[in-house]
């Protein structure tokens, strides 16, 4: 073999072995195999050789060329691998236990409980209605079978406004409007009235950990041809079991509310002890939760519905109370305090 070829090969081998990175390797490639590279130059110089000499020399140069390309290729792969390994080694290990920052917003707990109730009732075919907070005496009392000077008016201390209107003391204040809104469809097409109307209520009373002058209720009504007490118990039990996500036992006791007859106080089995008795249910095993009853014939009549043809039930659920029970909020005043320390904890709870 030609001495020059041998020398070049030796030289190339040692240079490739020394190459530290891909850039250096590439300049080696250019130095030998490029247009002006040493191996290319050998090929160019072949024209000066004798013909028979040229043949063997050509074959040797080609071998060298192939060998050079192969060596460079192998070295490239090796260097790339080294670089990845270096990259892996240089990746620091993060401390995943540092505090998260999810920048979460929050819902008011009443919104959460209200949504849960609304979803349950919507799934059972109830519409969700909204109603004003300022109502008339007719809406809040007279249409609900509570005439002027009725002792039931003493039961609630109402905030009156200087124009004679009042801040609604109960969500029932919307009942007459709901009956009038959906009554015609009931009478003409037999479409049952199924509606809930959550809302904010107001009572003129001193506030403490258990009393607020501003709180939320959710009223519900259902009116159709044969709505019964049995249906009322079913809907209350189903709804409450869904809200608390466990089987809730309910019991009815007679309760007096002028807009229902018969009227009930609905108790649920204590959520803490399950009914065996504990301090939070005053050892009775039951919690008084929501007044309800069969809509009073006078109320139906006042809403344009014939009580001889239709019956219905109504209930008034204390959403504020429910939220407190559900989340273990002990001081009712926290809800309207505006304090983010208390209220920013309530992320979505569907």
């Amino acid at each position: 073999m030609d001495e020059r070829i041998l020398k070049l090969k030796e030289e190339l081998e040692s240079k490739i072995a020394e190459a530290a990175d891909l850039v250096g390797l590439d300049s080696i490639r250019v130095g030998y195999l490029g247009k002006k590279g040493s191996i290319t130059n050998l090929v160019k110089g072949m024209k000066d050789l004798a013909a028979e000499q040229r043949k063997t020399f050509g074959a040797d140069v080609n071998k060298l060329k192939e060998a050079a390309a192969k060596m460079i290729e192998e070295k490239t792969a090796e260097l790339k691998q080294k670089q990845i390994e270096l990259e892996i080694r240089s990746m620091p290990a993060f401390d995943i236990t540092t505090p998260s920052n999810c920048a979460c917003g929050s819902y008011h707990p009443i919104t959460l409980v209200q949504r849960q109730c609304e979803n349950i009732f919507r799934s059972m075919g109830f519409t969700v209605e909204d109603y004003s907070e300022i109502v008339t005496d007719y809406e809040c009392f007279e249409s609900l079978n509570i005439p002027k000077h009725h002792p039931a008016r003493d039961m609630q201390d109402t905030y009156y406004l200087t124009n004679g209107q009042l801040l609604k003391s109960q969500t029932s204040a919307a009942q007459n409007a709901i009956l009038r809104k959906y009554g015609p469809a009931l009478i003409e097409n037999g479409t049952p009235i199924r509606a809930i109307f959550p809302g904010r209520c107001f009572r003129n009373e001193a506030t403490d950990a258990c009393h607020e002058n501003t709180f939320f209720q959710m009223e519900g009504v259902m009116v159709d041809k044969d709505i019964s007490i049995s249906n009322l118990i079913y809907f209350m039990k189903t709804m409450l079991s869904e809200v608390f996500r466990k089987d809730i036992r309910v019991r009815l006791r007679p309760g007096f509310f002028p807009f229902v007859e018969p009227g009930f106080e609905l108790d649920i089995s204590c959520l803490i002890c399950g009914g065996t008795g504990c301090p939070s249910c005053k050892h009775s095993g039951w919690l008084e939760l929501c007044p309800c009853g069969m809509i009073h014939p006078n109320v139906l009549r006042e809403g344009g519905i014939d009580p001889d043809k239709y019956t219905g039930f109504a209930f008034g659920l204390g959403l504020t109370r429910l939220a407190m029970m559900k989340y273990g909020i002990k001081d009712i005043r926290d809800l309207n305090s505006g304090s983010l320390k208390a209220l920013a904890q309530f992320t979505d709870d569907e």
């Binding site: 008011h108 300022i134 159709d224 079913y234 039990k237 006791r253 007096f256």
Partner: protein
């Protein structure tokens, strides 16, 4: 109201039944019973009747006496006693060695050098009255050594019913009515109370009495003389005490006893002071002294009982001091009357004086009860004071009667209301046990409502359902869903929007939802330097801080920021709530539902915070209405608004609300270093805006051409003006325009906008785009916008 099981059992035999279970069923079927049930006398044993045989003064003590007591066991027991009323021959309650009184067991006890082998007890120590003036004096003729519990009703079960749950049941304000419920629940018979036959006095003269005002529905009276008893029998006193009343004297106690038993308030006048009973109102107000010694202002609406023209009692509320039973009263005029419920209620409110009597009259008592109450009173009076003489006939004026109520319904009505089947026999049995007169033929029922239920609570068929079902027991109901047809339920637009807004604000912008009050917080606003704006007021606010209703949620939120300044360097709050904006032409409040958002930051500069708010609002419009908001400058109208950067928020030409920066004065009062931005929009107006919906545009298959315009903007020219230039010149070929760079110095405000052109039909030529750009540049130049560079 406290109730005595012994008393109830006077009228119904409950032997062999679990009393606690009955009380529980009463709570579920009639009225709520409080949790605490008292087992009276359970902790008392070994107390007997004993006689004091000798009394010696204790040599070392002024208070103590050394007694020898005969407890009927054939010996005299040494007792050291500190009571002041000890005397020889007195019979008293004696706790023998080994006796228990509450937690105490009686054992020999040394007292000042002498040992006492037992204890003489006072009534309060025995728990049968509040009399602690000395040891009990027993006047009844009983053998010494008799256990006290054998002769007196010391053992009793006392339970309390929440008065509120009796509001609509005037018949339950006495033990007899309660006993009727127990009889019905237990399936036992109700016994009639023992009464005096009043007809035997029919030949005696009448009492001079006349109702001159129909607020008195009925007045029944009788006159009795030669009363000698002064202290009530022990059992009567025990019952009164257990039921929460104090013993006063025999006659007063007996009227109270009758009230607790029959539910009928009664009043005993000293007959010397009341000879000519007139029931009327007076023309002029005057001052009247009631028997508790209080001077009360009586007005012309208050019904009075008078002796001719001299008032002697406030009807249904309280007697007068001058005519009350005193030590030497031997002749009494008894009142058993019925007054208009509303009138009594209003009078108690005016006088702010509620009594056991008025509490009952307010509930509409049964006027049929006045005469039986007198008959029962006389029976008990004669039983306990043998020498009394009745000196008048029953004098009774029945001015206003409740019309009788008869109800007709059929089985189908009951089935429809209950949703279960309760058979006819059960219905008849239940109603009969409650005193209803029932005729049952075929499937029909005809029911005559008893007088004690028609005054208030049973007047129509629906009321009958309650009677049947509550005794049947709601726990026994089979529960069923309805068979009503189902229809799709759609939420109102406002409700839909509200829920979406809440989700967007919480989940995308990490805001916090807060609630607040509907009134303006006077004190808190004052502290921030925000005067409460004139608006409708509460007529009966007990707290001046909450007198005026709010016309915006923003001031409320500024107060809430103040509470939360230490919560985090940066946060945002929102509320969807109601405000009132004055009155309409009918004098009705104009109520609006608003969304208010306030951002607080010590970390971001004002510009960033302001644009964050702007983007939140834009996101609401984009997310809910697929629309773009526009803004126009607004004039400040409220003290908390910064005059600069106050903008109206518009959607489709409708003015939704306002976005602005807190006034520096207010802002500094909240936090010296914080930037505060607020916005408020009308949720109902937003809901009324149409949703543009998603408009799909197919991506172009042809390449797009980008063109960057770098412009120096003179003062007063808005981005909206620039945008207007390229939107009007680009004939639908402009696909997007976005700011890619900004450069601001004191003199120069430069932005670079990248315009992207494409057509869905062909490949655009650069000459075509250049034509458009030339036009745009010309328009921009007219506004003195200088083009620095432009390039594709």
């Amino acid at each position: 109201m406290f109730l005595s099981m012994n008393w109830i059992e006077d009228f119904v035999d409950l032997s062999g039944l679990d009393k606690l279970d009955l009380i529980h069923r009463f709570s579920l079927s009639t009225a709520e019973v409080e949790n605490d049930i008292f087992f009276k006398g359970k902790d008392l044993s070994g107390v007997v009747v004993a006689e004091i045989k000798s009394v010696e003064a204790h040599p070392q003590s002024k208070k103590l006496h050394l007694l020898k007591v005969d407890a009927g066991d054939g010996q005299l027991t040494d007792v050291v006693c500190g009571a002041p009323n000890v005397r020889v021959g007195m019979k008293t309650a004696f706790a023998k060695l080994g006796a228990t009184i509450g937690d105490i067991t009686i054992a020999p006890r040394a007292l000042a050098g002498y040992t006492s082998y037992g204890m003489c007890c006072g009534e309060s120590e025995l728990g049968i009255s509040d009399d602690n003036s000395g040891i009990m004096e027993i006047t009844d003729d009983v053998p010494l050594g008799t256990d006290l519990k054998e002769i007196y009703d010391i053992e009793d079960i006392i339970f309390e019913v929440d008065n509120k749950s009796l509001t609509n049941r005037p018949d339950l304000w006495g033990h007899y009515g309660i006993a009727r419920e127990f009889a019905s629940l237990a399936g036992r018979k109700l016994k009639a109370p023992e009464m005096e036959d009043l007809t035997v006095y029919d030949s005696l003269p009448e009492v001079d009495m006349k109702i001159e005002d129909t607020l008195c529905k009925r007045y029944s009276t009788m006159k009795v003389e030669n009363i000698s008893r002064n202290v009530s029998p022990v059992n009567i006193r025990i019952r009164l005490f257990y039921c929460g009343m104090r013993a006063i004297n025999f006659l007063a106690d007996l009227t109270n006893y009758l009230m607790l038993e029959m539910g009928q308030p009664m009043h005993a006048f000293d007959a010397r002071k009341v000879e000519k009973i007139r029931i009327k109102r007076f023309d002029k107000p005057f001052v009247f002294t009631t028997l508790d010694g209080a001077e009360r202002n009586i007005d012309e609406n208050t019904l009075m009982i008078c002796n001719d023209n001299t008032p002697v009692a406030i009807a249904g509320i309280m007697g007068g001091l001058d005519s009350e039973i005193v030590e030497d009263t031997t002749t009494l005029t008894l009142e058993s009357a019925n007054f208009d419920a509303a009138s009594v209620r209003k009078s108690t409110v005016r006088l702010s004086h509620r009594t056991d009597a008025s509490m009952r009259y307010e509930k509409s008592l049964d006027p049929e009860m006045t005469v039986p109450a007198i008959a029962r009173f006389l029976y008990l009076l004669k039983k306990y004071d043998g020498g009394v003489r009745v000196v008048s006939r029953l004098t009774d004026e029945y001015a206003v009667k409740f019309p009788p109520v008869t109800l007709c319904f059929d089985q189908a009505f009951v089935d429809r209301y209950t949703g279960i089947s309760i058979d006819g026999d059960t219905i008849v049995k239940t109603l009969t046990s409650l005193g209803f007169d029932v005729t049952h033929s075929g499937t029909g029922f005809t029911v005559r409502v008893p007088s004690w239920r028609i005054t208030k609570d049973v007047t129509m068929n629906a009321d009958i359902i309650e009677e049947i079902t509550r005794i049947y027991g709601y726990d026994n109901f089979e529960i069923n869903t309805t068979r009503s047809p189902l229809y799709p339920v759609r939420m109102t637009q406002v409700k839909t929007d509200e829920e979406k807004i809440k989700d967007l604000l919480v989940k995308k912008f990490a805001l916090h939802e807060l609630h607040s009050y509907v009134w303006a917080y006077n004190d808190e606003l004052k502290a921030l330097g925000i005067p409460v704006e004139e608006n409708i007021k509460l007529a009966n606010a007990t707290n001046p801080n909450i007198e005026t209703l709010r016309n915006s949620i923003i001031p409320t939120q500024l107060c809430q920021l103040k509470v939360n300044t230490a919560y985090a360097p940066e946060f945002g709050i929102f509320e969807i709530g109601r405000v009132v904006n004055g009155l309409d032409e009918n004098n009705m409040c104009i109520e609006h539902k608003k969304l208010a958002i306030t951002l607080f930051s010590k970390a971001s500069d004002m510009r960033d915070l302001y644009f964050r708010m702007r983007d939140i609002l834009a996101a609401i419009a984009a997310d809910i209405k697929h629309s773009t908001l526009t803004f126009t400058a607004a004039k400040p109208a409220h003290s908390y608004e910064h005059p600069v950067n106050l903008n109206k928020i518009l959607l489709d030409g409708a003015e939704l609300g306002v976005i602005g920066i807190a006034h520096p004065t207010v802002s500094k009062n909240i936090d010296k270093k914080a930037n505060i931005v607020f916005a408020e929009i009308d949720v109902e107006k937003l809901a009324a805006c149409s949703d543009k919906g998603i408009v799909y545009s197919e991506p172009s298959k042809y390449p797009s051409i980008e063109y960057d315009l770098s412009m120096d903007i003179p003062e007063g020219v808005l981005y909206a003006d620039l945008k207007n230039c390229w939107e009007k010149e680009t004939s639908g070929l402009l696909k997007s325009a976005a700011i890619v760079d900004t450069y601001d110095t004191a003199e120069i405000h430069r932005i670079t906008v990248r315009l992207v052109f494409s057509s869905s039909e062909r490949t655009l030529s650069s000459a075509e785009v250049q034509d458009i750009i030339d036009k745009v540049v010309k328009d921009l130049a007219e506004m003195n916008v200088t083009i620095k560079t432009s390039a594709t």
